[in-house]
Symmetry: D2
Subunit: 257 residues, 4 copies
């Protein structure tokens, strides 16, 4: 049974997809398909009908749904990229993860949901309104207890966090943070950089080499959707062809070699 | 400090990447770069030198490393696909997830690591030697307590599991299982199918439509690696261009609509 | 020096690209950048300035420019695909090429420009208004003498052409034409099919196998544009991800083997 | 009927594809499928059987076949790229085209076959053995009369050709040739650069800007093959993911603007 504050994904077709947070005080929803009342005791998997007699399916939202539909002040990382990052940083229950910048909090939500109750995400942001929006989005997702937001110019002040299991760096000049990342990470731990432009990647490699990082790897992840329909099966005509370059590296302690 | 039974990722360059499980009883490692002794109290981030004076970096393995290096009897799902699946199924701590077939246990490891101590993965396989290998790989990863392996022909016998949060279906004839999946899932919950061939996807859609599933979506995920090197930055000349089509759908209870 | 009837490509930036046919009777051009007068004796390579003082460069149009800017009643084949087709059909000076349907005449223009004065394109179309538009576009390109347009339902009546060097088939049900194609082609000659949907390809293969064609090959061609700009070099964010599947095959004379 | 000196493409399946030049003096062919005798008066489209009773189909070679099978001393441009280049340079019958370097002569063959009897390709190369090999390949293709090969270090000596319709530049340091290209091209005419690395493209843009070229465009062309087989239709598992960046620009006469 759906409870007050639960997320619901209402699905009425390709052009009618809505993530809402159910509130007892507002037991209805309206869109171009019409108005639907939420009956007492309705549940996931139910089919509701609008006053225009259109079906709206009550689905369980996925992590992709939650992150794609945060209130955005910034470009967000895409689920196609996030999933790859999570596996290539080895994010797991109990981890202590650094993130900078918080952006709209989309990646923060993914990280927080995966580090679990026993983990923590240190999320740094230097623009106050972004921090507040990200914090709002994380709170709405019920994950505030796992995230410590910090308003800080990391380039100047550093992280003030040590022995982190991994780091997610999504800022315009990531190369300025590589020294700080080195101080913050555990030995042998991985760091990830998202950069739209190849010059950012090139400068980041230079900084990574200077700080003795190893196992650098850069990839792009492309998602291509297929329309499957009898007699008309084919890839969609248009796609997102670039979000950013994903760069990974591991910290080592050369001095102690 | 690295303890008995910890995984270590030894990195000596693109062609020297090794995942090993450290054992006090065998405190050395040999490869084409030479032999290296593990000193007392060595740790992640250390640089060790082989008897041929080649450096080997002691790195923390990522989830990708763990799954790519399971003992394989089958093709495994690729991390590029796994990450996307995890976010689009909304896998989270505490989930009860169905998987069929177990294959080599690679996806089982990812699922088990994310559902945490409070979750469980029901992993079905009908070929005994595959089940045993998958079980061995999961045990090696220290995740046995979160996985219940079952030797079963699901098409004939069904899952015998109910109210699952999501399901991962990786079998040659997934359309034969759609009815069973419907019985096993919670209302509104998502299911994922991996299929190399487009005809498999087409047949699966037919079965999904017959069983009233909604929000079907099929994608391909492509990973393209970039070599970043001063004056010589470019995509690698060759890539994996197809692993499989990823299909998602959500269960709804039409009868109760 | 530009003569009456010459094509000019006027370039004023990414969003100001125009193909025009110069006419002495209308020696000016207007667009959102302003109005430009064509001076006496102006030539390719000149820079003209509009009355708003914006530069418009007088460039030589390429084949891509000519085909992209035909008057369209239909979807046209894309230059990325056309170029591949031309090389994989071995189109060359003097060839006799079959095309069906004429569509908007874009591919007709490419074929006609490559078969030269000594070659000929037989272009079949069953919808009169399409044929007329295609014919108009080919005439405008000055290539009418190389193209024989025919208003015909090829499925019912066949081509009535024999010993063709190659054939370009772009119709919704290409499999219905395979028998006719076999009769029309020279022994060992190639045929090309453009099909947006995979089911069309599957049915075409069936027909090709039945008629003894060999060396079947199907590809997709993807074009990805890169923005090259100091410090901001990266692929464009969006791209055309599908136009159609390109299928090739060669005719053989099994009976005579 | 096949004549002495004609090219034949023998096809015996995916792994048995051969381009040969028929010679009366050697009327047989041998491969892993066995030996085949060429009967008197055999023709394209015939099926021949080897002494192991395997069929070999006598097909007409396409332009792709001719260029893919030149004797190579260098990496050659791929047909997927060549076709795009031809349409985006507007190569047509009668054109005067510059090429540097000659490489293995693969692109030279394509250009020569398209400029026809009335056109000419000026092909520059500074390494003597490459020039000789390219010349040999072009001669074998019967196109020598359309190509003027020149052994020259263009960076130092320039082209000595003027009013060219287009230029194809495939050298490691294309930016050093941009000034020479400007002198050699007709006003408003296009030039093409093939560069494997992004840094080469960046430097070329700088030179193009300095010399007032306009309408710069850079793309990658990707070819993805699909296996079409009943119940097993899917993209091939591996593909060429990078050959080079294709850059285009047009010359303008800023001085005369």
């Amino acid at each position: 049974m759906i409870k007050d504050g639960d997320f619901i994904f209402l699905y009425g077709g390709k052009r009618a997809q809505f993530l809402i947070k159910y509130s007892k005080d507002k037991p209805y929803f309206e869109c171009h398909l019409g108005k639907v009342e939420f009956p007492e005791g309705f549940d996931y998997g139910d089919v509701l009908y609008t006053n225009k007699n259109k079906p709206l399916y009550v689905l369980r939202p996925t992590t992709s749904d939650l992150v794609f539909r945060v209130k955005r002040l910034t470009t967000i990382m895409y689920p196609k990229d996030m999933g790859y990052v999570v596996l290539n940083l080895g994010i797991k229950s109990g981890d202590r993860v650094i993130e900078v910048g918080s952006g709209s909090g989309a990646m923060t939500i993914v990280l927080a949901s995966l580090v679990g109750e026993s983990g923590i995400v240190y999320s740094f942001e230097r623009r106050k309104e972004f921090l507040e929006n990200a914090s709002h989005n994380v709170k709405r997702a019920g994950l505030s207890s796992r995230v410590k937001f910090m308003l800080r110019d990391v380039e100047k002040e550093g992280f003030g966090v040590f022995d982190a299991d991994s780091a997610v760096i999504d800022v315009p000049e990531p190369w300025t943070l590589v020294g700080h990342v080195k101080k913050a990470l555990k030995g042998g731990a991985p760091v990830f950089f998202l950069s739209p432009n190849i010059e950012q990647v090139q400068k980041t490699y230079k900084a990574l080499n200077e700080h003795g990082f190893v196992r650098m790897k850069t990839v792009e992840i492309l998602e291509r959707e297929i329309r499957v329909s009898e007699g008309k099966t084919r890839p969609l005509e248009r796609m997102i062809s670039h979000t950013g370059y994903l760069t990974f590296a591991h910290k080592v302690n050369h001095e102690e070699g």
